[in-house]
């Protein structure tokens, strides 16, 4: 269970948001809404621990995330605006390196299967830089297929995807929710996911 209580964040002199509180239980999703520049991405980065907390508290399974960050990070999968793909490596090499860095072994066979599931068959060995924007996003999203993290924090995951890929992603999220996973996401598109979930409107 993820509990955020009374989070606030300032950037320079400007207060982005304050008093943000919510709870996310196993098998639930939360759709973070808000206008451009209201601080959705910053809130997600704050929850991950990429921005240091000024006020408030973030609890993961009842523990403060800043106190035991490695426990929290082992349960966390974050996908931001930057896809964290190396342009000179192939999707296959990217996936396997990512898995190893987050402490898991990923066989070539499993990685190929994950890429095929995201519609990247026969693109596995091309350098990422020759792939289209959408294909690069698909590559980044295929990390989630073999992710063992309980909490997915996804920043605009549906951007630049075609209808088929959006369905595939929604399917992955639904499967994750049915495994009692948790999903926290931002999206400007309407989100229809299975299982219990709700929207949280972020305002200045």
């Amino acid at each position: 269970m993820l509990t955020a209580s009374n989070l606030s964040l300032s950037r320079g002199d400007r207060r982005l948001f304050s008093g943000v509180s919510f709870t996310l239980e196993s098998g639930q999703w939360l759709h973070l809404e808000g206008d451009n520049g209201v601080g959705k991405t910053s809130l997600l980065r704050l929850l991950c621990g990429l921005i240091s907390l000024e006020e408030g508290e973030i609890l993961w399974k009842g523990q403060t995330t800043t106190k035991t960050p490695e426990v929290f990070r082992a349960d966390l999968a974050y996908l931001g605006h930057q896809l964290a793909l190396k342009q000179d490596l192939s999707p296959l090499e990217n996936l396997r390196a990512d898995a190893a860095i987050s402490g898991r072994e990923l066989s070539v066979k499993d990685a190929m299967a994950a890429l095929a599931q995201m519609g990247l068959r026969s693109r596995e060995h091309l350098p990422v830089r020759v792939l289209s924007q959408g294909q690069q996003r698909r590559t980044a999203l295929s990390r989630l297929i073999f992710s063992t993290a309980a909490l997915w924090i996804l920043d605009e995951p549906f951007v630049a995807l075609d209808a088929a890929a959006q369905n595939a992603l929604a399917g992955m999220i639904n499967a994750h929710l049915s495994r009692q996973g948790m999903v926290l996401l931002t999206s400007h598109q309407a989100v229809s996911l299975a299982g219990p979930g709700r929207s949280y409107k972020l305002t200045a």
């Binding site: 991950c48 621990g49 990429l50 490695e70 990070r73 082992a74 966390l76 974050y78 931001g80 605006h81 930057q82 896809l83 964290a84 793909l85 190396k86 342009q87 000179d88 490596l89 090499e93 396997r96 390196a97 990512d98 190893a100 860095i101 987050s102 402490g103 072994e105 350098p127």
Partner: protein, 169 residues
């Protein structure tokens, strides 16, 4: 594969696909070291005196050339974020990056030093000492440089700051 090995392997593979970046700093070292004997002239005693110093300055500048790139690309494409969110200790991952930097920009200089030292008419004994001192010194340059590269990451005009930091450190 451990996270340390994965980061090391990824950085080495990336460098092999972009060979010009590695070759630039090695070539720079060779050119700097080769210009001095030409400029000073065939004064064997002077050359012998200044040789080790010039090689050290060359090594320092050459390692600085590639320092800016140590974390910059990872910062730009978001890889650094993912490394920071890895359950593995960030220090271990950064150590792998520093080792990769040394293997690509320090080790070639150590291997070249005895050859370049010949231009300065250094004795076999002096060549040994020079090579060994570079073998000890270039990893330190990478390690100290990593602090500077990390501190100036994302700062506009960071390269100038990094040069100042590295030269004073």
């Amino acid at each position: 594969m451990s996270a340390f090995a994965a980061v090391l392997k990824r950085d080495l593979v990336l460098a092999l696909r972009r060979k010009n970046e590695v070759i630039t700093s090695v070539f720079f070292f060779v050119v700097v070291a080769a210009l001095f004997p030409l400029g000073i002239g065939p004064e064997m005693n002077t050359l012998r005196l200044v040789g080790p110093g010039i090689l050290w300055v060359g090594a320092l500048l050459a390692s600085m050339l590639s320092l800016g790139r140590m974390f910059a690309a990872d910062h730009a494409d978001g890889t650094l974020e993912q490394m920071a969110l890895s359950p593995n200790s960030l220090s271990v991952l950064v150590a792998a990056k520093i080792l990769a930097h040394w293997l690509l920009s320090g080790l070639p200089l150590v291997l070249l030093a005895p050859v370049i030292g010949l231009q300065f008419d250094l004795s076999a004994n002096a060549l040994w000492i020079l090579t060994l001192s570079l073998l000890l010194g270039t990893p330190v340059l990478s390690l100290i440089g990593a602090i500077g590269a990390a501190l100036t990451l994302g700062v506009r005009g960071g390269d100038v700051l990094l040069t100042l930091y590295k030269l004073t450190a």
